[in-house]
Amino acid sequence: MKRNELLLDVIGEVKDEYLQEIDSRIKRVRHRRMWKRGLLAACVILIVGIAVQFAVMFGGGLGSRGGGFSAEGLVAGGYYFHQTRDGDVFRYTPEEGSDRLLKSSILDRWKDIRYPITANDYGFYYSKGDWIYRIKHGETKSEKLYHHESKPNYLYLYPAGANDIALRVSYNRADVMTHDELLIIDGITGECKTVIMEQGIPAQAYDSLSIDDRNFYAEQEALLVSHTVYADTVTYTVGDRTLELVYQAGKEWYDYTYRLTENGKTLYNGYVEPYNVRTVGDSLVFTVGRGGNNIDKDLNGYVIVSPDGSNHVVNVPSVPGNEKFFFTVKDMDDGQDILAVRVNDNEKFKLKWDRAEERHARDIYSDGSYLWTMGFDGKKGDYLASCYRIEYENGIPTALTLIDDDITDNN
């Protein structure tokens, strides 16, 4: 045996404790390494968890449901726009069955704000900060449309004909309304076309009031009335027809109403709202107002003015569909019926309804070709929107065919 072989051999005779020392050291190193890896994995899991939670809380897509409590549905341009409870806005295209995130509120979610939105034939509109933004139909890019003076306390958007929108803003100081205005904005150019109502109360007028004064509210009302200015007329056009809404003083300051006229002739024996004017086909749909002499009446209805010179009134509580049919939902003992209301004569037609589950439709929306229902789904524990195609026979709506049980599945 060589000497180096002998040395290697005798090294085998070392004490057990030295070998155990190595074993325990290796275990310690391995344990430390595993601990580090575990810590790293925990960090990754934590980060992913936070990201997922963030997405669920604030993000579009993950956990963001298209139905959502008080989600508003808007039908315009062949699309169905709906806003989630988180504020995300989706645009659903029924032909494609796609639901596209149009406006994410992920960066503003912490403010717990849902954007005021509306839509018309030209595009979709939303308000954020001091600006009204527009997204043209078929596009996804937001464009600034209109800037208002300062951040209002309340802001609402409504459709106002084919291409315009109505903007209502309120500026409050404490609990006292100090300024309120309602404007018609050109939805294409951003130009303010009409100021329907303006109510600028000088600050010193309020400063002279004391909230402890028992006449405070009466004096406040008097101030509101004396400082409120209404537009005498608001103009809309339908084809070659020019419609003028003529201001009628109501019983209360907020009771502003307009009479619908054409060439000085009243078209409807009642009052209509100067905003919330929608389109069905080439016709304009005015909402019957509750102001003026109608203030105490439980009115629901629409005045449909068509370019061919015809005018129709739908007095059944319903939602606009197309120029021939509006739609309504009726609670029955064994569920709900959906009825088509013929614009010509208000005759109702019950539709065979391929109903999604046993979901109770809280609201319906339609464009005459499709009908969307939004209601609470007990199984999924959320408000969901379904889309149906309206089937016609001999020009009469006969059935609803379910094409999408939950449109948010397509997000």
Partner: protein, 185 residues
Amino acid sequence: MEDEKIVALYWARDERAITLSKEKYEHYLYTIALNILASLQDAEESVSDTYVGAWNSIPPHKPVVLRTYLGRITRNLSLKRYRYWHAEKRYGGETELALDELSEVVPDTQTAESEAERRELIRILQVFLASLPSDQRMIFLMRYWYLHPVAVIAKKLGYSQSKVKMTLKRTRDSLRDLLNEEGLL
């Protein structure tokens, strides 16, 4: 199962002792054998012979740490196998490298291998190892007891390979100096 119970089975001449030893330490024993022999077939025979060796030596032995007891048998059997085959074929494994490295400590010359010289070498080695810091001792034994490659030692202990190589060089130099002082060179 605890080592104590496995050893008790050896003492009771219960063949389950071998099965349990295999289950618990086969991977460990294969590592030692493969480090020395660099041949799976030879390592397999060494490990297999280890169980026979344990069966034959327990009793009378009653190892406190079964793991190192079995590992020691595997090491000895593997080194024997290495020497047996070394004349005919080169393994190219860690043993040759380790022997080359140890030839820096003691000359690569034939020795009569008297029992007295062996015992003296063991004594000096024990003194030498006891004098080493723990980390240095571990690196030395992982290299020359387990025949682990430098890369494996570095990974298992969490050191860089250069540190392991440098530590081994210094340890070998120290051992050579001690052996020189003791007149064994």
